[in-house]
Each structure stands twice: as C-alpha cells, then as structure tokens.
C-alpha cells in the first residue's frame, strides 16, 4: 500500500490540472469498468437468454428455423410440457440423480480430504497425484474408460465380480436396467468430481487454526463433534460454493450420459438436459426445448436460492 501512496501523491500535486482530470476520472471510471461488463453481460449472456425466453413462447420448428422467425403462441409450450407425463418423470429422475450424485460427491470428497490430513506425506503426495490425474481426464476419455470397464463382453467389472463369486456376471449388461445403468453413470460422475471437492476442501482444512481443534479436543469433544462444531462452521463458505456448483453441474449433466449410451440414450435415461436437447435437435421443436431450458433454470434457481442469497449478502456486509 505504501508504494502506491508514495508514487501517487507527488504526481497528483505536481500539476493542478491533474486534480480535475482525476476527479473526472473518478466519476467516469466505474462506467469505464462497467462498459465491458455491461457489454459482456448484455451481449454474451443477456442476448441469447432473451432469444431463448422469446423462443420458449413461440412455435419454432424446422420451418420457422429456415425463415429465421418464430410464431408467437403464448404459453402453449409451457402448457404442453406441464401436461406431459414424460416431463414430470424426467424432472423427478433428474432431481433424484442430482441429489444422490451431489451428496455422494460432497461426503466422499470431504471424507477423503479429512483422511488426507491424517496420513503420512508420501501417501498424501500419491493421492494428490491420482486426484490431479483424474481431474485432467477429458470427459470423452473418462466415459470411454468406464464404458470399457463395464463392457458386457470384455469388461473388467464383470470378470472381477464373477471371479469373486459374487454372482454370474458373464455377459451382464449394466445398461439393460436403468437403475444399474444410472449406478454406473453416477459412479463415473462422482469419480470425476471428487478431485475438485477433495483438493478444495483439503486446502480449506489446512487453513483451520490448529489451536481451535486442540482446544475442542481438550474440552473432551469427540472427533465427530470437533468436525461438526469447529471445522464445519469455519469451512461453511467453501461448502456453500461447492454444493451450489455441484448442484448446478450435476443437474445439467449431458455429455457423460450422451456418450456413455452411444449418442442415443433411450427415454429411460433422459435427464433434463438430454430431454431439452432431444426436443430441440431430434424432434426439431426448438420452442419446446427452450421452454424446458427455462424451466430448468427456474428449478436450479429454486434449489440454490438459499446459497445464492448468502452469496449476495456476502457483498452487502462489506
């Protein structure tokens, strides 16, 4: 801070004109900073959003796509969706899938971060290396590895389960039943998401003052109580961000399911994003797809509202 003060002051006092120019600058600077912000938010975020919302109120099929002009039909798209049993099934499936995936990711990721604190250095380095490796795998590659591992003919999973006499898994197709199929997909996504959670939480844990933990232990607190009463409240901001990001990411999961099922998942595997994609690009009902996307955003907003409010309030306090 001192260097700023020293270099700025003589400059400012040298010439009087400088003062006025600076004053004008101070009034205009926020707008200079806001200009790119407003442009960015308006053009890149706002405009497509506006188009999407507009499209969701229009009949927009192939014919309209060629003409570049939709036909206004009011809330018909929304009425159609809300009266469609398929939509509610997909929504319920997506909510359950998100809840399970986010919970597993957060619990396992945090547990691993807590374990990392306990073990010797070499094991910690080995684990961190593994996490970083997993983190850097492209989704396409990750899906292919998993698909290969659970392949019904050559898969390692079936071979191991059969050898261990857990059952006869020879030529067992994991995707014939949506429950086991989603089990594999959940495992893949949790596997891919844990590194980010673990490394972030671990970095946060390392910052928790040791004295606090010791004080709690001296007062006779059990490990679980120490975690709940000391660690958790301190790391709450991290958990808030990680949980809301995980909800947002898992709710709109697309690539993993899409690639895992050979670019043509059956309707048993539809989640919201796939359903929206299907309506848009496979049936060419872009209006319906847009309406589904709007409902999705509203739903995610609802699910993360508590967190969002806390994030906004963070700004107000300071």
């Amino acid at each position: 801070m001192a260097s700023v003060a020293e270099s700025e002051f003589p400059l400012a006092s040298r010439r009087r004109r400088r003062f006025t120019r600076q004053r004008i600058g101070r009034v205009l600077a926020p707008y200079a900073l806001l200009a790119p912000a407003a442009t960015a938010i308006g053009v890149i975020l706002g405009y497509p959003l506006y188009l999407l919302v507009k499209m969701s109120f229009e009949k927009y099929g192939l014919f309209e796509l060629i003409r570049h002009k939709g036909r206004w039909i009011g809330t018909a798209n929304y009425a159609h969706i809300l009266h469609d049993g398929e939509f509610w099934r997909v929504l319920a499936r997506t909510v359950v899938f998100t809840a399970v995936t986010v919970t597993l990711t957060m619990v396992l990721g945090t547990a691993m971060a807590l374990l990392l604190l306990q073990v010797s250095r070499w094991l910690r380095v080995a684990i961190t290396t593994g996490l970083v490796l997993v983190w850097s795998v492209p989704v396409i590659v990750a899906v292919d590895i998993w698909r290969w591992m659970v392949d019904y003919e050559f898969g390692v999973a079936n071979w191991t389960l059969t050898k261990l006499h857990i059952g006869n898994f020879i030529r067992h197709d994991w995707f014939a039943n949506p429950w086991t199929g989603f089990g594999v997909i959940t495992a893949l996504i949790v596997w891919g998401a844990i590194p980010f959670i673990t490394i972030t939480v671990y970095a946060g844990l390392a910052q928790v003052p040791q004295e606090l933990l010791e004080a709690a232990a001296i007062d006779g607190a059990k490990p679980w109580a120490v975690f709940r009463e000391v660690t958790l409240p301190l790391l709450m901001p991290i958990f808030v961000i990680l949980t809301s990001l995980s909800i947002i990411w898992d709710f709109q999961v697309f690539q993993q399911i899409w690639v895992m099922l050979d670019f043509r998942p059956t309707s048993d595997y539809y989640t919201m994003a796939i359903y929206a994609f299907h309506q848009s690009f496979q049936i060419s009902e872009y209006g319906l797809g847009a309406a589904i996307a709007v409902v999705m955003v509203l739903f995610m907003f609802g699910a993360t509202l508590v967190y969002l409010r806390q994030m906004l309030r963070t700004g107000e306090v300071q």
Binding site: A32, L33, L34, P36, L49, F277
Partner: protein, 295 residues
C-alpha cells in the same frame, strides 16, 4: 483428527499416553492409510488400464491378459504416423491459449464492477451471471449458432475463441467471490491517495488477487483444452481446424478395434494438460481456498 487421540482430559497430565491409547492411535493410522490406499487404487486403476493397454500389441489388447508382453513402445510412434497430431495440437493450443487470455482479461473488470463498485442493478447483473452459469449449454447454443452462421464464422476457431473475450460466467463468479474478500480499507487507502477505480484495480486488486487469477486461468485452460462439444459443433465439417479432442474421437472411431493405438493416443492427448496442472497446482489451490474460506 490427530487431536482426537486425546479422548479424556485426564490423559493430558501424563507424559506418555497409556498403551491402550497408543494401540488405538496405531490402529487408527493403519485404518486411515488402508482406506486411502484403497481410494488411490480405485482412482488410479483406470490409468493403469490405459497405460498397460497402450503398450500392448494389437492382438494382446483384445485378449484378457492385463500385463503387456512384450512391451510395444512403437505404438506411440505409430499414432504420430497415423494421425495429424501436431496439427490438432496446434489448433488446441490456439484455442486454449487465446480463450484463456480472453477470459482473464475480460472477466477481471466485470468481476471488479460486480464486487467493489456500488451501482444500481448490480445484483441484477450478478443474477444474470448466475443464470448464465445455470443454462444448459446444449440448449443455449442454438441462438448463438444462428448468430455465428449469419456472421459466416462457422467452420473456424472464431466462434470458440471470441465469446471468451466477453467474459465467462464461471470465471466472473469465482473472481467476484475473491474480490469480495479484499478488505475495504485497502481500497479506501488507495482512494484517499487519489487513485481512480482503474488504478485501484490495476495496482491493488490485481496484486492481491494473483492466486485467484491463476485459478481462473487454469480452470479456463483445462476447460477449453478438454472441450469437446463446442469444437464438434463449429468445426466438425473442417478437419483442418480440428482440435485434439475431436481428433481423438475420430481416431477412436477409425481405429475402433485397435485399442492399443487408441489408448496410446489418449495418453498423448492427456500429457500436456497433466503437465500444466502439476505446474500450476499450488497457485490454483491457493486461489480456490481464499475464494471460499474468506468469502
């Protein structure tokens, strides 16, 4: 908890913990280590499979043997002969580097305006950023594709790179959370010294926010390097603009039965991002932590 091994206050008065406590502590350590070793195996097993298969002969890759015999390092050379890896890598680098630069340059002022300057509609603007974060890309891409098609840029890297120069929702979000943690006194001190907002941003905020900026840059690089969906959408028809991920996916469908070559190609594609990651890991962890803990 290492501290948890002191279960009752009485234990504190003793120099050396009693045998039972020591035994439990030892057992705990064994349990912790074995749990993490299992986790490590689960995490690393897929890489074992990739690496081992990448070194097998083609015939062996299709058999049930797990260990390569003989080791065939030639696979890596063959990949280079069978696919224009360098061209794909060049395209990927152009995309990843220019996009990352754009994200960093454009997101910083936006995040600053959303965190440290008070203005009407600030929360609304931040809400828009959050909505952008929540929009499923597979759907929101429709209007954008129409726009790029009208501009005649489909088929090149333009539609991939240019939007990043107008800010990226996730980066803005992360940087905003970090900027929020900078104590107001620092900024006030600079204001008293006669700094304008731009100068405050350039001198005070940027210096304090280095780890967060590093994190955002790394995230952005990782994301664009591994991006599959957008390059597929915009460059599919133009093989001279393919990036590594598209190339890899095409390579897989061309050499479907040659698992050994496919896996060797996979390892080659993953290598650069792993190297970057290890180099930047420390800065990254620091950035993410500060963003969260003090937010």
């Amino acid at each position: 908890m290492s501290t948890a091994s002191v279960p009752v206050p009485t234990a504190l008065t003793r120099r050396k913990p009693p045998a039972s406590v020591r035994r439990r502590r030892f057992l705990m350590a064994v349990a912790n280590h074995s749990m993490l070793i299992v986790a490590a195996v689960v995490f690393l097993a897929p890489f074992g499979f990739i690496a081992l298969t990448a070194l097998m002969t083609n015939g062996q890759a299709l058999s049930s043997h797990l260990w390569p015999n003989p080791f065939r390092w030639q696979n890596f050379v063959d990949v280079f002969h069978q696919a224009p890896i360098f061209r794909w890598a060049l395209n990927t680098m152009i995309y990843a580097c220019l996009a990352t630069l754009g994200v960093v340059v454009s997101s910083i002022p936006v995040a600053y305006a959303l965190s440290r300057i008070r203005w009407r509609g600030r929360n609304l603007a931040f809400g828009l950023v959050l909505i952008a974060l929540m929009l499923p890309p597979v759907v929101s891409v429709v209007p954008l594709y129409v726009m790029w098609a009208k501009l005649g840029l489909v088929g090149g890297l333009g539609p991939l790179i240019i939007p990043n120069w107008f800010g990226d929702a996730f980066s803005i979000f992360l940087l905003r959370q970090f900027f929020m943690t900078i104590p107001e006194e620092y900024l006030d001190a600079a204001r008293v010294d006669g700094c304008g907002e731009l100068r405050i941003l350039a001198t005070v905020v940027l210096r304090l926010a280095k780890p967060a900026i590093a994190a955002v840059a790394l995230f952005s690089f990782l994301y664009t390097f591994n991006d599959f969906f957008l390059p597929l959408l915009y460059t599919r028809e133009n093989p001279s603009r393919w990036v590594l991920q598209i190339g890899l996916s095409e390579f897989r469908s061309l050499h479907q039965v040659q698992w050994n070559l496919t896996m060797a190609a996979t390892l080659l594609v993953m290598a650069p991002v792993i190297i970057v990651f290890f180099l930047a890991q420390k800065a990254f962890v620091e950035g993410v932590t500060l963003t969260g803990v003090k937010g």
